[in-house]
Amino acid sequence: MNILDPTFFAIQFLNGLQLAALLFLLSIGLSVVFGLMNFVNLAHGTLYMLGAYLGLTAVNLFDSYWAALLLAPLGIALLGAVFYALLLKRLQKESPMKQVLVTFGLIFVGFDTVRMVWGALPQTIPAPDVFAGSVTVFGEIYPAYRLFIIGLGILVLLLLYFGLEKTRLGAVVRAGVDDPVMVSALGINVDLAFFAVFCLGCFLAGLAGVAAAPVFSLFPGMEMSVLILTLIVVVVGGPGSLWGAALGSLLIGMADTFGQVLFPEFASVTIYALMAVILLLRPHGLIPARVVR
Amino acid sequence: MFRADNLHKAFGSLQVTRDVSLNLPRGCRHGLIGPNGAGKTTLFNLLTGELKADSGQVRIEDTDVSGASPDTRARLGLGRSFQKNNLFAALTVRENLVLAALLQQRVAHNAWRNLRRFKRVQEAAEQGATLLGLQDDLNTVVRHLSYGTQRQLEIGLALALRPKVLMLDEPTSGMSPEETHAMQALIAGLPAELTVLIIEHDMDVVFELAERITVLDYGRVLLEGTPEEIRGSEEVRRKYFGSEG
């Protein structure tokens, strides 16, 4: 394993990019909800897991990966809407501790729900036929599906960018992150915008779940490591910031991938340390969404 | 005894404090006025240590505290009240004053003796309450006190530190005329050797209490002088009253 070997490097780079794409799908929702509503949702990883399992069910029902990729995230968005109506409205005014602990409780609920409904054994969703094969990259065979994930990540990034810049909802969101008081003073229905953003974030978490399923296996507990990685991305990139989430995902995706192969003993310690250092030096992240006053 | 020399402070490209100097001899009553946005609050924060000046010096007696934190400055004898009531609202009056007394007597770090056994602390708290006329409210939770009374306790807490310098940030803000009178009486009755700096919006209060007044405008000292001099200044009248009226 020589980092200077171009083939090895290229393969690991693609792996890193693929992880970054997944992390981006996961973190952007959490990040915007954190930045916009000041709400830390620890159950975000659980949404990812439920997305993957709903995808599994959809694949079994319709025998189509693409149906799963569309339906499961919609299901998660719906779940998010219910969650928003029942809990989030109520929690928004509460202390961060309460938010963290309520969503912490939900992790256990989600965990056992999955065990009850889908069982505790690891399962997988096969990659769709189009991407089931391999392609040759620098003389090495590489699973085509992973390239699809990278493409999906980039596509979502671009869509969100244009959505944020060109749509009315995007304008409200940008203004809301900058100065929430001002926006509500303007009489814009901020709550509705928050609701839409929250559901979109849930949708993307579900999307990440289905997208990840053919690569990683599904099992109750898959949400735990993902949640912490996602939180790191959010903190490192800067809560509420699109480019922050993108940069954070890229950094953590690469650091984790190369770290695991190059310094397996220290890699995970290093990314937590990175999060701690960023929190201390730049609590608003590398690319802060809000003008820090 | 309390002085600031050539303070500068900028937020980005915005100069909010420009070359401000103040010199308060022991026991003086000094007022600080200026139109909104003149930089009064910034200057106040530079003096208390909430903000650090870009350049210039702040000295308490002969100690340079320019780089010191608010708590260090407080321990060196700088007491302050806040513009908005900033108390321990869920604690009683006694508990509030006990806190100040614990810190003043340098025993707050004691983690092994029961608080009740610190007789001098309890006495100081009771004296403090008596000074404020709150002796009957010792066991009242602060948030149940009237606004004006909370305002007095605001100053009482600062006084409980036995400061050398007392900085009052709009002590009469939000008060009714009667409450303002009570507050004026409280300030007028402060120990003569205490150095007092008052920021105040209510001009009558400043003119009555202060011996010298500094007028700030756009972060600069526009003028410093006795109340008569300030009152008589055409420039102040134009800037201060003209621009607002």
Partner: protein, 341 residues
């Protein structure tokens, strides 16, 4: 200073209850009692930080792990007696807490939660990968103190559970002294209004660091005891969900009350124990298979407690008692509820 009418009766009741349970317990009863006592220590240590000083940590399990791993390393690798290992483990936990605290106390609110979570997970990741400490398998063969000099055997569950109860009592008394001291009073003030306290000349960060170190040290003690209790350690001790659970224990019982935290630990551990037992469900007329899904029930319980009883059982009881008292003596203008809020 402390408005706490429940304190003495509850302290007595808990002591009597613990004694009664200890007297009547079978083998498993003693094991459970020891676990409750250890987690009572752990929860009380966190309560000093969360309930009194208002510093909500989601990484307290790091110190549980440091205490446990240090004890394991010294008894297994070096063959030291458990009592000496425990002492060193506590000192090491204090050191670790001082080091972590130096950074963590610079932040507050949600950022403090995040940094403690990150640092806690750092410890987890380290232990998980560390070859000398057995990686994700952990270590076993940790010994208990030699009580031969007293004619007792610490491996006897009866003796060990009594030791743990005494340890919990000791920690409670120590923390009680702290919360009733000027320092304790200042901690409550930090929770309430940090900024004003600073203006009164209090070096708030140093106080926060002190609290962090005290909590971490006692957390390390709980870790050392848990290693001695189970004879086995694994990285899971440091996992962030352990930190979350102990935070829930503190809240269930009532933040800002040591007895509340201890009772919360007992309640959560007993619930976990009972809910994962088929017999409990069958007694309730429900299928025993529900015992596999005890986390579901616990999760819902956590959510409900945080949403609807965030002042905890202790806070609720105190509140009721205060209200009753206020009705009897109308001139007392005292506050309902808990000290720290």
């Amino acid at each position: 200073m402390i408005r706490d009418p429940l304190h003495t009766p509850l302290a007595l009741a808990l002591t009597l209850l613990a004694l009664a349970v200890w007297w009547n317990a079978d083998f498993f009863g003693h094991e459970l009692l020891a676990e409750v006592a250890i987690f009572a220590i752990f929860a009380m240590s966190l309560d000093l930080m969360v309930g009194y000083a208002g510093m909500v940590s989601l990484g307290h399990a790091a110190f549980l792990a440091v205490g446990a791993y240090a004890t394991a390393a010294m008894t297994v690798f070096l063959g030291w007696p458990a009592s000496l290992a425990m002492l060193v483990a506590v000192v090491l936990s204090a050191g670790a807490a001082a080091l972590v605290g130096l950074f963590a106390v610079r932040l507050s609110g949600v950022f403090f939660i995040m940094i403690t979570l990150a640092i806690g997970q750092m410890f987890y990741a380290y232990f998980f990968k560390s070859r000398p400490f057995g990686g994700d398998n952990g270590m076993s063969g940790i010994t208990r103190p030699d009580l031969g000099i007293l004619g007792l055997d610490a491996n006897d569950p009866v003796v060990f559970s009594a030791m743990m109860l005494l340890a919990a009592l000791g920690v409670y008394l120590l923390l009680r002294v702290i919360v009733r001291s000027p320092f304790g009073h200042t901690l409550i003030a930090i929770h309430q209004n940090e900024n004003r306290l600073r203006a009164l000349g209090c070096p708030v960060q140093r106080y926060k660091l002190a609290v962090y170190v005290i909590a971490g040290t006692l957390g390390g003690l709980a870790g050392s005891l848990t290693a001695q209790h189970t004879g086995f350690i694994s990285p899971d001790l440091a996992f962030w969900t352990v930190s979350g659970e102990v935070l829930i224990m503190v809240i269930v019982g009532g933040m800002g009350s040591l007895l509340g935290a201890a009772s919360g630990a007992a309640l959560v551990i007993l619930m976990r124990h009972e809910l994962s037992d088929e017999n409990t469900w069958q007694l309730l007329g429900l299928p025993g298979v529900m015992s596999h899904y005890w986390q579901f029930v616990m999760g819902i319980f956590f959510v409900l407690v945080v949403l609807f009883a965030a002042d905890g059982l202790y806070g609720r009881l105190t509140g009721l008692l205060m209200a009753a008292r206020a009705r009897l003596t109308p001139n007392r203008q005292r506050e309902d509820g808990n000290v720290s809020r």
